[in-house]
Subunit: 186 residues, 2 copies
DNA sequence: CAACCATACGGAGAGTGTCTCCGTTTAGCA
DNA sequence: TGCTAAACGGAGACACTCTCCGTATGGTTG
């Protein structure tokens, strides 16, 4: 790629990252192009669709997922707290942008989606959590990572769209955890 | 209202019902006007916003909610089956149109929303189910109707957006039920 | 039944966003 | 320095939303 092209591409992604966060995923692309100091043609050549641009914007974010999971897996306490903690981290991860939870969660399991790579990273991270808990015998056997992603994603979507606070979200995540963990007889 | 105005209004709502179901809530309003054989001005006079039209389309639907709840409450079996059955009915109710679950669930708890009346009907219906179960001592005490609506709504949103089948949705609803019901020690 | 007018109609058009085409410019190389 | 493939960017076609206002008409009154 020519140096000027690379420069423009980087500028567009940087501007898009800010605009998407401030205005949501339906911000005007021509506007992003203008803010980045390029013509709309340039933006659309680099990113033929809105999702292609979104994909680029999310790239840096993907690395954070693995990191967060690594850290979560070091937790030593009770399974319930561990799982709820992970759920909260997961919700925070996919709620980086307004509309992000819906975008990511509805693309989950769809191989055709332009951001399917991003969702695979999320499912893979969740799979590690599932394996960890199942090795300890704490999780019901029929719980799958994809299902877990969808359910926590569902809560995140509602929280995102209704502007719920962490205090309103936590009890819902607790319900999910209780529904997925093996009953302890308490 | 003049007779011709009433006729036009009815035609618009009827067409909108079909178009919303087939194409989702972001269908072109000018297109709906054209299909109804009126000018865009006429449509916008009757329904100043998209949500106003949506509200009219949903009017008939509201009656079905109370009816469904009445029927559900007659169920005599175990609490878990009752609750899962209600969840399935609820998901079906709010999934009448593509995009419906998201629309309804994210408006829930927001008094300003143009469809807040519709969401109140749903929460009230769910409240009856909660009361019923709590009278039997089957539900955890901290479970609230609004929270229940949001969580089941979250699952419905994902199911709607990812085109999940009933077989994929049921296990998720079972997780919710297990997380909300009082542990039975089994 | 004729005349009137408040009510309703509907289309032209302004504003905004998406996306493409193509003439112009320029980076990188020989 | 000159060449050319690569990249630029803006004009403009197309789509959707929503409004304004001249025109048509339902319903009422004398």
């Amino acid at each position: 790629m020519r140096a000027d092209a690379q420069r423009n591409r980087d500028r567009i992604v940087e501007v898009a990252r800010v605009v998407f966060r401030e205005r949501g995923y339906d911000a005007s692309l021509d506007d992003i192009a203008k803010k980045a100091g390029v013509g709309p043609g340039t933006l659309y050549r680099h990113f033929p669709t809105r999702d292609a641009l979104l994909d680029a914007v999310m790239q840096a974010w993907v690395d954070g997922v693995t990191e967060t999971t690594d850290k979560a897996l070091t937790f030593e306490g009770p399974a319930r707290e561990f799982l709820i903690g992970w759920f909260e981290a997961y919700v925070a991860l996919i709620s980086m942008h307004k509309g992000g939870p819906a975008k990511l969660t509805s693309a989950m399991g769809d191989e055709q989606s332009p951001i399917s790579h991003k969702t695979r990273v999320l499912v893979a991270a969740t799979q590690r959590v599932v394996d960890h808990l199942q090795a300890r015998g704490a999780l019901r056997e029929d719980v799958e990572a994809l299902q877990m992603c969808r359910m926590v994603g569902g809560v995140a979507v509602i929280a995102d769209q209704s502007d719920l606070s962490a205090d309103e979200v936590r009890p819902m995540l607790a319900v999910l955890a209780d529904g997925m963990l093996r009953p302890t007889g308490g």
